[in-house]
Amino acid sequence: MIWNSASDFFAMGGYGLYVWGSFGVCAVAFLVEPLLIAKRHKDIVRTLRRQVVAEKLEMENK
Protein backbone atom coordinates (compact mmCIF):
# COMPACT_ATOMS: atom_id res chain seq x y z
CA MET A 1 0.00 0.00 0.00
CA ILE A 2 1.30 3.42 -0.96
CA TRP A 3 -0.80 5.42 1.52
CA ASN A 4 -0.49 5.20 5.29
CA SER A 5 -3.75 7.01 6.03
CA ALA A 6 -6.66 8.80 4.42
CA SER A 7 -5.14 12.22 5.13
CA ASP A 8 -1.91 10.98 3.55
CA PHE A 9 -3.94 10.07 0.48
CA PHE A 10 -5.66 13.47 0.28
CA ALA A 11 -2.40 15.33 0.81
CA MET A 12 -0.89 13.63 -2.28
CA GLY A 13 2.62 14.25 -0.97
CA GLY A 14 2.04 18.00 -0.90
CA TYR A 15 0.51 18.12 -4.38
CA GLY A 16 -3.09 17.77 -3.11
CA LEU A 17 -4.30 21.08 -4.55
CA TYR A 18 -2.97 20.26 -8.00
CA VAL A 19 -3.96 16.60 -8.18
CA TRP A 20 -7.47 17.13 -6.74
CA GLY A 21 -7.86 20.40 -8.65
CA SER A 22 -7.36 18.42 -11.85
CA PHE A 23 -9.39 15.33 -11.04
CA GLY A 24 -12.11 17.30 -9.24
CA VAL A 25 -12.84 19.63 -12.13
CA CYS A 26 -12.89 16.68 -14.55
CA ALA A 27 -15.30 14.78 -12.30
CA VAL A 28 -17.62 17.78 -12.10
CA ALA A 29 -17.47 18.23 -15.88
CA PHE A 30 -18.28 14.57 -16.52
CA LEU A 31 -21.28 14.83 -14.19
CA VAL A 32 -22.61 18.11 -15.55
CA GLU A 33 -22.35 17.28 -19.26
CA PRO A 34 -24.85 14.36 -19.17
CA LEU A 35 -27.23 16.49 -17.08
CA LEU A 36 -27.12 19.30 -19.64
CA ILE A 37 -27.81 16.87 -22.47
CA ALA A 38 -30.67 15.28 -20.51
CA LYS A 39 -32.17 18.74 -20.08
CA ARG A 40 -31.80 19.45 -23.80
CA HIS A 41 -33.59 16.18 -24.57
CA LYS A 42 -36.36 16.90 -22.09
CA ASP A 43 -36.86 20.40 -23.53
CA ILE A 44 -37.27 19.21 -27.12
CA VAL A 45 -39.62 16.39 -26.08
CA ARG A 46 -41.76 18.90 -24.19
CA THR A 47 -41.89 21.18 -27.23
CA LEU A 48 -42.82 18.26 -29.48
CA ARG A 49 -45.60 17.17 -27.11
CA ARG A 50 -47.08 20.66 -27.15
CA GLN A 51 -46.91 20.67 -30.93
CA VAL A 52 -48.74 17.37 -31.19
CA VAL A 53 -51.46 18.53 -28.80
CA ALA A 54 -51.81 21.83 -30.67
CA GLU A 55 -52.18 20.03 -33.99
CA LYS A 56 -54.79 17.73 -32.52
CA LEU A 57 -56.84 20.65 -31.18
CA GLU A 58 -56.64 22.37 -34.53
CA MET A 59 -57.97 19.25 -36.25
CA GLU A 60 -60.85 18.96 -33.80
CA ASN A 61 -61.88 22.59 -34.23
CA LYS A 62 -62.07 22.37 -37.99
Binding site: Y18, V19, S22, E33, P34, R49, V52, V53
Partner: protein, 249 residues
Protein backbone atom coordinates in the same frame (compact mmCIF):
# COMPACT_ATOMS: atom_id res chain seq x y z
CA UNK B 1 -23.90 -9.52 -50.06
CA UNK B 2 -26.16 -6.79 -51.35
CA UNK B 3 -28.44 -7.48 -48.43
CA UNK B 4 -25.68 -6.53 -46.00
CA UNK B 5 -25.05 -3.23 -47.74
CA UNK B 6 -28.67 -2.25 -47.50
CA UNK B 7 -28.70 -3.07 -43.82
CA UNK B 8 -25.83 -0.70 -43.16
CA UNK B 9 -27.39 2.15 -45.08
CA UNK B 10 -30.58 1.67 -43.13
CA UNK B 11 -28.84 3.05 -40.04
CA UNK B 12 -28.04 6.26 -41.89
CA UNK B 13 -31.70 7.16 -41.45
CA UNK B 14 -32.36 9.17 -38.28
CA UNK B 15 -35.62 7.27 -37.74
CA UNK B 16 -33.75 3.96 -37.49
CA UNK B 17 -30.73 5.31 -35.69
CA UNK B 18 -32.67 7.09 -32.94
CA UNK B 19 -33.92 3.93 -31.14
CA UNK B 20 -30.69 2.05 -31.89
CA UNK B 21 -28.60 4.80 -30.24
CA UNK B 22 -30.94 4.71 -27.27
CA UNK B 23 -30.25 1.02 -26.81
CA UNK B 24 -26.47 1.39 -27.13
CA UNK B 25 -26.02 4.23 -24.62
CA UNK B 26 -26.29 2.09 -21.41
CA UNK B 27 -23.67 -0.31 -22.78
CA UNK B 28 -21.14 2.51 -23.18
CA UNK B 29 -21.95 3.83 -19.70
CA UNK B 30 -21.24 0.41 -18.21
CA UNK B 31 -17.96 0.14 -20.11
CA UNK B 32 -16.96 3.67 -19.06
CA UNK B 33 -17.65 2.85 -15.40
CA UNK B 34 -15.73 -0.40 -15.65
CA UNK B 35 -12.64 1.07 -17.30
CA UNK B 36 -12.85 4.16 -15.10
CA UNK B 37 -13.08 2.13 -11.91
CA UNK B 38 -10.08 -0.03 -12.67
CA UNK B 39 -8.22 2.93 -14.18
CA UNK B 40 -8.65 5.09 -11.08
CA UNK B 41 -7.68 2.23 -8.81
CA UNK B 42 -4.46 1.70 -10.78
CA UNK B 43 -3.84 5.46 -10.90
CA UNK B 44 -4.13 6.06 -7.18
CA UNK B 45 -3.41 2.78 -5.43
CA UNK B 46 -1.16 0.68 -7.64
CA UNK B 47 1.04 3.01 -9.70
CA UNK B 48 4.19 3.80 -7.72
CA UNK B 49 5.31 7.26 -6.64
CA UNK B 50 7.39 9.00 -9.30
CA UNK B 51 11.07 9.45 -8.53
CA UNK B 52 11.27 13.11 -9.58
CA UNK B 53 7.70 14.44 -9.39
CA UNK B 54 6.47 12.60 -6.29
CA UNK B 55 2.70 12.21 -6.19
CA UNK B 56 2.16 15.28 -8.41
CA UNK B 57 2.74 13.19 -11.51
CA UNK B 58 -0.63 11.43 -10.95
CA UNK B 59 -2.25 14.24 -12.93
CA UNK B 60 -0.91 12.34 -15.95
CA UNK B 61 -3.74 9.80 -15.54
CA UNK B 62 -6.33 12.42 -16.44
CA UNK B 63 -4.22 14.91 -18.41
CA UNK B 64 -3.01 12.52 -21.11
CA UNK B 65 -6.42 10.84 -21.69
CA UNK B 66 -8.25 14.19 -22.00
CA UNK B 67 -5.56 15.45 -24.40
CA UNK B 68 -5.74 12.30 -26.52
CA UNK B 69 -9.52 12.48 -26.63
CA UNK B 70 -9.52 16.16 -27.59
CA UNK B 71 -7.44 15.33 -30.67
CA UNK B 72 -9.15 12.04 -31.46
CA UNK B 73 -12.68 13.46 -31.20
CA UNK B 74 -11.65 16.27 -33.54
CA UNK B 75 -10.54 13.75 -36.17
CA UNK B 76 -13.76 11.75 -35.81
CA UNK B 77 -15.84 14.93 -35.92
CA UNK B 78 -14.07 16.08 -39.08
CA UNK B 79 -14.57 12.63 -40.66
CA UNK B 80 -18.32 12.73 -39.95
CA UNK B 81 -18.48 16.31 -41.23
CA UNK B 82 -16.67 15.27 -44.42
CA UNK B 83 -19.05 12.39 -44.89
CA UNK B 84 -22.01 14.70 -44.37
CA UNK B 85 -20.56 17.08 -46.94
CA UNK B 86 -19.68 14.54 -49.61
CA UNK B 87 -22.58 12.10 -49.28
CA UNK B 88 -25.09 14.76 -48.26
CA UNK B 89 -26.08 12.50 -45.36
CA UNK B 90 -27.75 14.54 -42.65
CA UNK B 91 -27.17 12.00 -39.87
CA UNK B 92 -23.41 12.25 -40.45
CA UNK B 93 -23.56 16.01 -40.01
CA UNK B 94 -25.63 15.54 -36.86
CA UNK B 95 -22.94 13.21 -35.50
CA UNK B 96 -20.29 15.87 -36.13
CA UNK B 97 -22.48 18.39 -34.35
CA UNK B 98 -23.00 16.01 -31.43
CA UNK B 99 -19.26 15.41 -30.98
CA UNK B 100 -18.15 19.05 -30.92
CA UNK B 101 -19.19 20.01 -27.35
CA UNK B 102 -17.65 16.86 -25.87
CA UNK B 103 -14.46 17.52 -27.84
CA UNK B 104 -14.38 21.11 -26.66
CA UNK B 105 -14.80 19.91 -23.08
CA UNK B 106 -11.88 17.49 -23.49
CA UNK B 107 -9.69 20.27 -24.93
CA UNK B 108 -10.63 22.53 -22.03
CA UNK B 109 -9.89 19.81 -19.47
CA UNK B 110 -6.60 19.06 -21.17
CA UNK B 111 -5.60 22.72 -20.78
CA UNK B 112 -6.97 22.90 -17.24
CA UNK B 113 -5.21 19.77 -15.95
CA UNK B 114 -2.09 20.88 -17.85
CA UNK B 115 -2.13 24.18 -15.97
CA UNK B 116 -2.54 22.36 -12.66
CA UNK B 117 0.40 20.20 -13.56
CA UNK B 118 2.52 23.02 -14.93
CA UNK B 119 2.19 25.19 -11.82
CA UNK B 120 3.97 22.84 -9.39
CA UNK B 121 6.44 21.38 -11.91
CA UNK B 122 7.35 24.34 -14.14
CA UNK B 123 6.35 27.11 -11.76
CA UNK B 124 3.75 28.58 -14.10
CA UNK B 125 0.11 27.93 -14.99
CA UNK B 126 0.62 28.85 -18.60
CA UNK B 127 3.41 29.42 -21.09
CA UNK B 128 3.18 30.26 -24.81
CA UNK B 129 4.81 27.01 -25.75
CA UNK B 130 4.09 25.23 -29.07
CA UNK B 131 2.23 22.31 -27.50
CA UNK B 132 0.09 24.44 -25.21
CA UNK B 133 -0.67 27.07 -27.84
CA UNK B 134 -1.69 24.53 -30.49
CA UNK B 135 -3.97 22.79 -27.98
CA UNK B 136 -5.54 26.17 -27.17
CA UNK B 137 -6.13 26.67 -30.91
CA UNK B 138 -7.86 23.27 -31.00
CA UNK B 139 -10.16 24.45 -28.23
CA UNK B 140 -10.96 27.59 -30.24
CA UNK B 141 -11.56 25.49 -33.37
CA UNK B 142 -14.21 23.52 -31.52
CA UNK B 143 -15.81 26.74 -30.28
CA UNK B 144 -15.64 28.24 -33.77
CA UNK B 145 -17.30 25.17 -35.29
CA UNK B 146 -20.09 25.30 -32.73
CA UNK B 147 -20.60 29.06 -33.00
CA UNK B 148 -20.67 28.97 -36.80
CA UNK B 149 -23.24 26.16 -36.86
CA UNK B 150 -25.38 27.95 -34.30
CA UNK B 151 -25.29 31.20 -36.25
CA UNK B 152 -26.74 29.79 -39.50
CA UNK B 153 -30.49 29.21 -39.42
CA UNK B 154 -30.76 26.72 -42.25
CA UNK B 155 -29.42 23.46 -40.74
CA UNK B 156 -28.15 22.00 -44.02
CA UNK B 157 -26.21 25.17 -44.82
CA UNK B 158 -24.91 25.23 -41.26
CA UNK B 159 -23.70 21.64 -41.74
CA UNK B 160 -21.79 22.57 -44.88
CA UNK B 161 -20.17 25.68 -43.44
CA UNK B 162 -19.27 23.78 -40.27
CA UNK B 163 -17.79 20.92 -42.26
CA UNK B 164 -15.43 23.27 -44.11
CA UNK B 165 -14.18 24.75 -40.84
CA UNK B 166 -13.79 21.29 -39.29
CA UNK B 167 -11.82 20.02 -42.30
CA UNK B 168 -9.51 23.03 -42.52
CA UNK B 169 -8.87 22.73 -38.79
CA UNK B 170 -7.68 19.12 -39.11
CA UNK B 171 -4.25 20.48 -40.03
CA UNK B 172 -3.88 21.55 -36.40
CA UNK B 173 -4.05 18.00 -35.00
CA UNK B 174 -0.68 16.78 -36.36
CA UNK B 175 0.77 20.14 -35.36
CA UNK B 176 -0.25 19.47 -31.75
CA UNK B 177 1.00 15.92 -31.87
CA UNK B 178 4.41 16.68 -33.36
CA UNK B 179 4.88 20.09 -31.72
CA UNK B 180 7.12 18.59 -29.04
CA UNK B 181 9.40 17.22 -31.77
CA UNK B 182 9.38 20.16 -34.18
CA UNK B 183 10.03 22.91 -31.66
CA UNK B 184 11.95 23.24 -28.45
CA UNK B 185 9.18 23.16 -25.94
CA UNK B 186 8.87 23.20 -22.20
CA UNK B 187 6.34 20.41 -22.55
CA UNK B 188 7.82 16.94 -22.33
CA UNK B 189 7.88 14.55 -25.30
CA UNK B 190 5.34 11.85 -26.04
CA UNK B 191 4.74 9.51 -23.09
CA UNK B 192 3.76 6.65 -25.36
CA UNK B 193 4.82 6.17 -28.96
CA UNK B 194 4.55 3.39 -31.46
CA UNK B 195 8.19 2.91 -32.33
CA UNK B 196 9.75 2.79 -28.90
CA UNK B 197 8.81 1.10 -25.67
CA UNK B 198 7.08 3.44 -23.22
CA UNK B 199 9.32 5.30 -20.78
CA UNK B 200 7.26 4.46 -17.72
CA UNK B 201 6.29 1.64 -15.39
CA UNK B 202 3.77 -0.86 -16.73
CA UNK B 203 1.20 -0.07 -14.04
CA UNK B 204 1.39 3.63 -14.92
CA UNK B 205 0.94 2.82 -18.59
CA UNK B 206 -2.06 0.59 -17.90
CA UNK B 207 -3.64 3.19 -15.62
CA UNK B 208 -3.32 5.76 -18.38
CA UNK B 209 -4.65 3.45 -21.09
CA UNK B 210 -7.65 2.40 -19.00
CA UNK B 211 -8.46 6.01 -18.18
CA UNK B 212 -8.26 6.79 -21.89
CA UNK B 213 -10.61 3.89 -22.66
CA UNK B 214 -12.99 5.17 -19.97
CA UNK B 215 -13.07 8.63 -21.55
CA UNK B 216 -13.46 7.06 -24.95
CA UNK B 217 -16.57 5.13 -23.86
CA UNK B 218 -17.85 8.21 -22.02
CA UNK B 219 -17.44 10.30 -25.17
CA UNK B 220 -19.34 7.76 -27.26
CA UNK B 221 -22.15 7.70 -24.69
CA UNK B 222 -22.27 11.51 -24.69
CA UNK B 223 -22.21 11.79 -28.49
CA UNK B 224 -25.03 9.24 -28.85
CA UNK B 225 -27.12 10.93 -26.15
CA UNK B 226 -26.62 14.32 -27.71
CA UNK B 227 -27.26 13.14 -31.27
CA UNK B 228 -30.64 11.81 -30.12
CA UNK B 229 -31.62 15.27 -28.89
CA UNK B 230 -30.32 16.80 -32.13
CA UNK B 231 -32.31 14.30 -34.19
CA UNK B 232 -35.52 15.27 -32.38
CA UNK B 233 -34.76 18.96 -32.80
CA UNK B 234 -34.04 18.70 -36.49
CA UNK B 235 -36.63 16.09 -37.45
CA UNK B 236 -39.42 17.70 -35.42
CA UNK B 237 -41.54 18.20 -38.55
CA UNK B 238 -41.57 14.48 -39.43
CA UNK B 239 -44.28 11.96 -38.69
CA UNK B 240 -42.03 9.35 -37.09
CA UNK B 241 -40.96 11.81 -34.39
CA UNK B 242 -44.61 12.60 -33.61
CA UNK B 243 -45.34 8.87 -33.41
CA UNK B 244 -42.65 8.26 -30.77
CA UNK B 245 -44.09 6.97 -27.52
CA UNK B 246 -42.21 9.61 -25.49
CA UNK B 247 -43.78 12.39 -27.58
CA UNK B 248 -47.33 11.08 -28.00
CA UNK B 249 -49.70 12.55 -25.41
Amino acid sequence: MSNRLINWFKFASPATFYPLAGKMIPLFWVLAALFGGVGLWLSFFVAPTDATQGEGYRIIFIHVPTSWMSMFIYMVMAAWAAMGLSLNARLSSMMAQALAPTGALMAFLSLWTGAFWGKPMWGTWWVWDARLTSELILFFLYLGFMALQASIDDPRRADKAGAIVALVGVVNVPIIYFSVKWWNTLHQGASVSINKSPSMAMTMLWGMLLMALCLWMYSIAMALTRVRAIILERESHTDWVKQLSEVKP
